[in-house]
Symmetry: C2
Subunit: 240 residues, 2 copies
């Protein structure tokens, strides 16, 4: 397969585009990705992609749709640990260590494939490393959000994180992006009740901070918001 046959960067599959944003990928990497994607599997929303504590043979690459790692308590309280977006790799950590007590669920219809082995290209490996580092940073962000921000700040902070993450995959347009999840799911991520999320959304709409409707979320001033939540944009090293 020749380079000519690869799609132009602007039209890349979002998941590939995100990886290529982290580290420019060579042809070997692209071919491996395209091959892996050709064996992708589809899952319905709400399907459990990975059971709690299930050991993971191969790391998975999310191609399309949104997923989340969640933890559910006995009484039903649910916490989303992290969102998994197109281009994210899950299960890089430790194949032998199923201690996580965390489940991977599809939040929307999802397309998944096995992540090509890092050995096919050093660029691909570097992209994985950077991806892991970014995801760790997002985890830290989630902790700070839950621990030290109020409801209003949490919502803004999450919106900015989602925007920045989706932007790496080319899944944003100007100041907005497709937001395929419900307020209830946002509540599960932010450690709040759906009712309160709704109130915060109302408030943000009134202050013209954001619009959210019809499955599209728009940040009216992403930079101002980023400043307000004290979160410098998290970028991979190669773009800093």
């Amino acid at each position: 397969m020749k380079g000519k046959r690869l799609p132009a960067h602007g039209r890349l599959e979002p998941a590939f585009r995100r990886l290529a944003s982290l580290v420019p990928l060579d042809e070997a990497a692209m071919e491996a990705l395209i091959d892996a994607a050709s064996h992708a599997r589809q899952f319905k929303a709400r399907s459990q992609l990975l059971a709690e504590g299930q050991p993971l043979r191969d790391p998975l690459l999310l191609l399309k749709g949104w997923a989340a790692r969640t933890r559910v308590m006995e009484d039903g309280r649910r916490q989303i640990i992290e969102f998994v977006l197109p281009g994210d790799v899950v299960g890089h950590g430790c194949p032998t260590m199923p201690a996580d007590a965390v489940t991977l669920v599809a939040l929307t219809p999802v397309s998944l494939c096995i992540a090509p082995a890092p050995s096919v290209s050093s660029q691909l490996e570097a992209a994985y490393v950077h991806g892991r580092a970014l995801n760790e940073a997002y985890l830290f962000g989630q902790i700070a959000r839950l621990g030290r921000m109020n409801a209003h700040e949490r919502l803004e902070d999450l919106c900015v994180e989602l925007f920045d993450r989706l932007d790496l995959a080319g899944l944003t347009e100007k100041n907005g992006f497709a937001m395929p999840i419900t307020q209830e799911i946002v509540a599960d991520a932010l450690g709040m009740t759906p009712v309160h999320v709704n109130r915060m959304v109302q408030q943000a709409r009134q202050t013209r901070t954001l619009s959210w409707g019809g499955g599209v979320l728009t940040l009216h001033d992403a930079d101002a918001m980023r400043r307000r939540v004290g979160r410098p944009r998290i970028l991979p090293a190669c773009m800093a």
Copy 2:
């Protein structure tokens, strides 16, 4: 150096003992650890061990004392992302990616050394992998704690986590352990105010759930507590 010269398991340096709990270590690993520890550096409480975003040449191994990764907001709010305890390795992630916006600070006087390269022994490498996996699980635990538990549960959950983690390093006695940090620091970890932490501690004392005083924390029934917080004990794979 011969095996005979190695200290008996029961008298191992806690940091080594923790690593050895994850994966039994061979002589090469032990020697590398002992050698690394001989170049350890001491730091005072509150010293900043790693500045925000500073790239990390070599991963560090904490030998003695407690540290924490923290994030501080502009207005002074502080969140402890995770505690770093003896035997924990910091900076394994991604040497090239300083996007973290997280700082490593000593909570007590601390002794640190450069973690021996995993290449010295496959057992050591495996121990690192398991250590990373455990630490990721602790991170997830922290998120669920902050997102979905009330103040009382958070305190209990953290106590159980600390107990289990210290136990791996042999730093517990029966049901208790040395607790070298203040309620204010616990508050920073639990996303609460020091005042409220204090109230929860009072309450836990009255219900004879725990004792905390004179730098020692005792869990009167760790298993019951573990059940109450719905947290199966997190163990490395080799001990499950």
